[in-house]
């Protein structure tokens, strides 16, 4: 029942029309790819969904609830987690701590509980740790749990970002260029991982430039160009679509 729906989203920054009437859906169990040339507004779509930007028109709804005006932490609590195009880990914290932060919205003990170390606080801490270790293990990072994030190799940091998003127990996960900067072996690994995430019953919406990754795993693709949706459909259809080819390669008949 976790359907993310964007209907006629427009975003304007001053005089710049970043998105114009974008509508699409991420259904239960879907893996949707969001592609388009640089500056097409893909990350803006993510920022709109997660509440970083407000829409100028249109609305985003999740499970039928409109997300308008909700602060990002509320949206995460509803089950939409994301990663970032340029890695935004908590650099000075360990991998485990990074992941544990994501459990914040799934836990409730306050200051007094922490100071008094009440039994319920200890239980909750143990549960947070366990869930976080599970998320690390899912991404194959359990041996790096106590490594400080900034000391980890780039590929591992990418995986840690996904682990952190997963630790928030999402129903939908937004991946912003998860394959950026990965070598071919790591990319293959990532595709496999994304498949496993989908097997958990988590819907995936991802922005990606690596067409091998996108065409390999996405079941549905949305193409943006200059903030406008120019095509939508199955990977095979998108590959043949003349408008998409034009947007990527330029028009030959100029």
């Amino acid at each position: 029942m976790a359907t993310l729906e964007l209907s006629d989203i427009s975003v304007r920054f001053g005089g710049l029309q970043a998105l114009t009437d974008v509508s699409f859906r991420v259904r239960e169990g879907d893996i949707v790819g969001l592609i388009g040339p640089n500056g097409a507004g893909k990350t803006t779509v993510f920022n709109v969904i997660t509440g970083v930007y407000q829409t100028s028109a249109g609305q985003v709804s999740y499970d039928g609830h409109p997300l308008k005006g909700m602060r990002p932490h509320k949206i995460l609590a509803m089950g939409v987690a994301r990663t970032f195009q340029n890695i935004r880990l908590f650099q000075n914290m360990t991998a485990l701590e990074n992941v544990m932060v994501a459990q914040h919205s799934r836990s409730r003990e306050g200051v007094l509980g922490a100071i008094l170390r009440t039994p319920s606080q200890k239980r909750e801490e143990a549960r947070i740790r366990e869930k976080s270790m599970q998320a690390l293990a899912f991404m194959g990072l359990e041996s790096y749990a106590h490594e400080v994030a900034s000391n980890m190799a780039y590929g591992l940091q990418r995986r840690l970002e996904i682990a952190r998003a997963l630790a928030s127990e999402p129903k939908t996960i937004l991946l912003d260029e998860p394959a950026a900067g990965l070598n071919p072996a790591e990319s293959r690994d990532l595709m496999h991982t994304i498949g496993r995430i989908a097997d958990l019953g988590i819907n995936i919406l991802m922005v990606e430039h690596d067409m091998k990754v996108v065409m390999g795993i996405c079941r549905h693709i949305v193409v943006l160009d200059h903030g406008v949706m120019i095509a939508e459909g199955k990977p095979e259809e998108i590959q043949r679509d003349p408008r998409v080819i034009e947007a990527y390669l330029g028009n030959e008949h100029h």
Binding site: R71, L89, F90, M93, T94, E97, A114
Partner: protein, 403 residues
């Protein structure tokens, strides 16, 4: 090697020239005219001493002391092996024992210094929650100290409420003040935040200074009661006032221990992690489910509570409060302790407070040069140990700790 050496001496020469230009205006410009002798004499001594040190350093780099290094290193390793085997709880017991035995082994003057150090440890740890954990630069922290002190002073003088009852009340008042100051600054970051908190700190002091009818203005409030206690005496409990410094030492020691435990536990809790996430990357923290606005407000309030507790004790110990105890320089001192000791590190802040309060007392003879040395030490520290005397531990220990 020779190129490096000549570069080193060139640097030394430049540093000495710079130092003379710094020194001469201080010592050589007098109403009677310009004078060079005294400044040159001092400069000569400093230059000679540093030349000797530099020469020694070069000899060491060249390997002239290798015959000394080996046994020294072996000794250090042996020592590290011994200390490494001592469990933490034993080390803590030794520290606790020393803290308890301290007043019985020392003079009145030492008690006085120790009490100041402990007050500043509480302040430092409180500010550490705001600056070290949540990463919000607060230049007006002493205002909460003032709020706590005045709360107890007024409650004690007007209503005769006891110290112990007023501790939580002052904490609450300080927390409210923290929220009032924190709220408008929630959406600010970095430099802007620092300037606004600086302004708020001054506002609190000026309000205290001018609200004659309530605070008696610059004259301050007299006649504040010391903490009371029940003591077993001749078969029955009787009420006594904890007036002398030894007794007060134990009161503040207890408060400091409470603060240390509380801050330590917060540090390793869900709240502490959220604070740190806000410090590291506020946007990412918000997107990972942390209500950053609320958490920042909480950081201000929590920091303020500890400031308020310290203030309550301060009022009870001095039996007098006046606005001049809460000036900007005090905020700067507390901040310096946190930065010097190591942001986010509890032992670091304790060390920082010791260094900034106890050391100046030890070197009372140089009091005139205190601020001068203070500035110099801070500059050197930030160059060589930018993360503080005792940097916050990372490397796995944090979330690994068990209970």
């Amino acid at each position: 090697m020779t190129i490096r050496a000549s570069k080193l001496w060139l640097g030394y020469g430049l540093a000495m020239v710079w130092f003379y230009f710094l020194l001469w205006p201080l010592m050589g410009i007098k109403p009677e005219g310009l004078e060079f002798q005294t400044s040159l004499a001092v400069w000569g001594k400093v230059a000679a001493a540093s030349a000797v040190l530099l020469a020694l350093y070069q000899l060491k780099q060249g390997g002239a002391f290798r015959f000394l290094e080996k046994p020294a290193q072996a000794g250090a390793e042996a020592l590290a092996a011994v200390t490494g085997r001592v469990p933490t709880w034993l080390a803590l017991c030794v520290v606790a024992g020393a803290a308890v035995a301290f007043p019985f082994l020392t003079e009145r003057y030492a008690h006085d210094v120790a009490i100041s150090v402990l007050v500043y440890i509480i302040l430092g740890l409180g500010l550490n929650v705001v600056v070290g954990l949540a990463g919000l630069l607060d230049l007006g922290y002493i205002a909460f100290f003032g709020v706590g002190a005045y709360t107890y002073a007024l409650m004690s003088v007007h209503f005769g409420l006891s110290f112990w009852l007023c501790l939580p009340i002052s904490g609450c008042f300080a927390a409210i003040a923290g929220c009032i100051i924190g709220y408008p600054t929630l959406r600010m970051r970095g430099d802007y935040l620092a300037i606004v908190t600086l302004g708020f700190g001054e506002i609190v002091r000026i309000v205290i200074n001018n609200w004659m009818s309530l605070t008696n203005g610059p004259n301050g409030i007299l006649g504040i009661k010391a903490p009371g206690a029940y003591w077993f005496n001749k078969g029955s409990f009787e009420h006594i006032w904890l007036n002398n410094l030894e007794q007060l030492y134990f009161v503040i020691l207890g408060l400091a221990v409470f603060t240390i435990v509380a801050v330590y536990r917060l540090n390793y809790s869900r709240i502490g992690r959220a604070f740190e996430a806000v410090r590291e990357d506020q946007t990412a923290a918000e997107l990972m489910g942390v209500n950053t606005l609320r958490l920042k407000l909480l950081a201000y309030a929590l920091g303020a509570v500890f400031g308020g507790l310290a203030g309550t004790f301060f009022a009870a110990r001095m039996k007098f409060v006046s606005p001049e105890s809460f000036t900007f320089i005090e905020s700067a001192m507390v901040l310096a302790m946190v930065v010097l000791g190591g942001m986010g590190s509890i032992p670091g802040v304790i060390l920082g407070s010791l260094a900034l309060i106890a050391l100046p007392e030890v070197f009372r003879g140089f009091e005139l040069y205190r601020m001068f040395v203070f500035g110099g030490v801070m500059a050197v520290m930030m160059l060589f140990r930018p993360r503080g005397l005792w940097p916050a531990k990372r490397m796995g220990v944090r979330s690994e700790e068990k209970d």
